[in-house]
């Protein structure tokens, strides 16, 4: 038995086949590091976590924590390899549903892990109360899980997971079923990391902002493979593909570099868009991209001054007619006929003031400071 206070990094490299789906990944997460995994539905995020957690055995590959092999399977060898059973793995996994034991009180739930590992009832309870204080729920210790809100339940679930002293923390969309307020408080908890920085963590999320705010690194999973990987800033500041751009909720405009270091793009109807911003290394005439958030765009009524966009090649300004209006959780999203790939978000108050409707004619402006431009390498997915 190895006993130390820092179990070590997660290192996993495996292939898992589920039905017709194949997941083939290699990840490494250091102690104290949080890796955010993003990807569309069905891309294999949950399969990734299940394999690491030991709920599912891979077809080949390994999972190790520090020096310790949790799973090892070599299809060339006829034996079945190593598959440490769940109860010996000490891998904490938290899904969308808190799954608190309904027959136990909150504090009994949290004390469950220590108790199961042989700690005395008193010590387990004391430890549990400590964890409940860290998640700010000590005053609800005596309640039944059904008497808590969904957000409180999820906080208790994380306290329970951590009280079991895991060597690895896996979080599978822990915010997805929570309302905005509760999701907020869970995010704050994960950002604070009351469990210290001893263990590697993996967070599956649909929301790139979770990655930006909470994670040290982000990996984008698509169809069972990691397609982009880096710090959240790298990944979302300069999405390599339209898919990541869409995921990041930013506009990725591709076009050609101009002499003055702008990116010149063209809409489907021939309306041009000239974008200037941070970054560089653009070569005139070469493929280049510009990235900016839909919320960075300022909107004003275009009034009567209808000007053909092609004529006024003012950088970072354009006009358009509203093709579609969609409510978004943070405002209304405008899509224009001229540039259907460029989404513009306006806050609700502005939307009311502007009296937006399909067909409205608007002027748009995005500050150069909010745009990031770069040249595009020759081959891209």
């Amino acid at each position: 038995m190895i006993a130390d206070s820092s179990p070590g990094a997660l290192s996993a490299e495996f292939t898992t086949v589920v039905g017709e789906f194949t997941l083939e990944v290699a990840v490494r997460v250091e102690s104290g590091e949080l890796l955010a995994v993003l990807g569309p539905n069905g891309s294999g995020k949950s399969t990734l976590l299940s394999t690491i957690a030991g709920l599912r055995a891979p077809n080949s590959g390994f999972v190790t924590i520090g020096e310790q092999q949790l799973t090892h399977r070599d299809p060339a060898v006829s034996g079945r390899g190593i598959q440490v059973p769940l109860e010996r793995r000490r891998v904490a996994m938290l899904g969308q549903q808190p799954l608190l034991f309904p027959h136990l009180s909150v504090v009994e739930n949290v004390a469950f892990g220590p108790r199961s590992q042989g700690v005395t009832a008193h010590a387990a309870r004391t430890a549990a109360m400590g964890w409940l204080e860290r998640v700010e729920l000590a005053d609800l210790a005596g309640r039944r899980p059904t008497e808590l809100s969904g957000g409180q339940q999820q906080r208790v679930a994380i306290a329970r997971a951590l009280a079991a002293d895991p060597v690895l923390l896996l979080l599978d969309e822990p915010f997805a079923a929570l309302d905005v307020q509760n999701a907020q408080s869970m995010r704050r908890l994960i950002a604070d990391r009351p469990w210290g920085t001893r263990i590697p963590m993996v967070l599956v999320t649909h929301d790139p902002l979770d990655a930006i705010v909470l994670a040290d690194r982000a990996a984008i999973l698509h169809d069972g493979r990691i397609v982009q990987h880096g710090t959240p800033g790298e990944v979302f500041g300069h999405p390599a593909t339209r898919f990541v751009a869409a995921l990041a909720g930013v506009n990725l405009v591709t076009g050609l570099g101009t002499i003055d270091g702008s990116v010149m793009a063209e809409g489907p109807r021939g309306d041009r868009l000239l974008l200037r911003g941070n970054g560089g290394g653009l070569l005139a005439g070469n493929a280049a991209s510009a990235v900016f958030g839909p919320g960075s765009v300022r909107v004003a009524p275009a009034g009567g001054e209808r000007i053909a966009a092609v004529d006024t090649l003012d950088p970072n300004r354009w006009v358009g007619t509203i093709a579609q209006l969609e409510p978004t959780p943070g405002g209304v999203r405008i899509v224009t006929n001229e540039h259907p790939d460029v989404a513009v978000d306006v806050p609700s108050a502005t939307a009311v003031t502007l009296d937006l409707a399909a067909g409205s004619h608007l002027a748009f402006e995005v500050p150069a400071s909010d745009v990031s431009v770069r040249s595009i390498p020759a081959v891209l997915p």
Binding site: A57, G66, G81, D165
Partner: protein, 280 residues
């Protein structure tokens, strides 16, 4: 903090979802339970004089009794479904107190020694019985008819259906019924097109238990329906007769039992889809 040393690992399963495993030593009591259920039957078969079996189970009397058993058990099961599903619905939708009382009433025939059940049925429907008196004035005689067999089987099997269906109704709840009513479906349409299909698994389980119990019913039938070949001598009574009869060996009784068990297994396996929908 402890981590796992290699010596503690074990040969894992093939790739695929790892099953949650229960303590392995639970296989011991589980095995004993299977033994309790199966060994007596196995011992019975071992003791059997197989030479007598073909004649015993192909005799017209045996086939007559088996046919009667299957017909009456099927009728009793149908009656139980027709009466028991509404009762289960009433219990499931009643207040706690009423439900507890009705549920206890529904459990009573289980406690009753079958013989007493027979006496009770005679007390009700016999010639001098509560209702039977009036019926016999009207020229209707129930005891000692095939009808009586069905009634006796219904009496002892009904609790199974009620309890299984009620549990299922409770776990389904009333949400879908509310939706159905909101869509303009009348009460009967809701019952037929929503409630019944939703409790189908519980209903099937209850039907299986009910049929099994009706098929095995002996005590109340013997007293209330009598033991007349072709009319009321069901398989269990034929077995009893064979066993009690002077001059015949126990083997015929056992051979008949074997026949009953095989038919029951066949029917139960036919209804095998039972519960397959439920999560593992």
């Amino acid at each position: 903090m402890t981590t796992v040393s290699p010596r503690e690992t074990h040969r894992g399963p093939a790739s695929g979802p790892a099953a949650v495993r229960f303590p392995l030593w639970l296989y011991l009591p589980a095995g004993i339970a299977v033994a309790v259920l199966v060994l007596p039957l196995a011992a019975l078969l071992l003791r059997l004089d197989w030479a007598q079996v073909p004649a015993a189970i192909t005799s017209p009397a045996a086939i007559q009794a088996l046919t009667l058993s299957l017909v009456t058990a099927a009728l009793a099961t149908a009656t139980c479904v027709l009466l028991g599903v509404p009762l289960a619905l009433v219990i499931a939708r009643s207040s706690r107190g009423v439900a507890a009382i009705l549920r206890t009433l529904a459990t009573l025939p289980l406690v009753l020694p079958p013989l007493v059940g027979g006496i009770a049925l005679l007390a009700l429907l016999g010639r001098s019985g509560l209702v039977g008196g009036a019926l016999s004035l009207a020229g209707i005689r129930i005891p000692f008819t095939t009808t009586a067999v069905v009634i006796a089987q219904t009496f002892v099997a009904l609790p199974f259906l009620v309890i299984a269906v009620e549990g299922s109704l409770r776990s389904v709840g009333t949400r879908y019924e509310t939706v159905s009513a909101g869509l303009g479906a009348g009460r009967f349409t809701t019952f037929r097109r929503v409630t019944l299909p939703l409790v189908a698994p519980g209903l099937l389980a209850g039907t299986v238990l009910c049929f099994a119990r009706a098929l095995g019913e002996f005590g109340a039938t013997a007293l209330f329906a009598g033991n007349a070949a072709g009319t009321t001598r069901t398989m269990p009574l034929a077995i009893y007769t064979a066993f009690n009869g002077a001059g015949v060996s126990e083997d015929i009784a056992i051979a008949l039992s074997l026949m009953l068990i095989l038919v029951a297994v066949g029917v139960l396996l036919l209804m095998r889809s039972w519960r397959e929908d439920a999560p593992r």
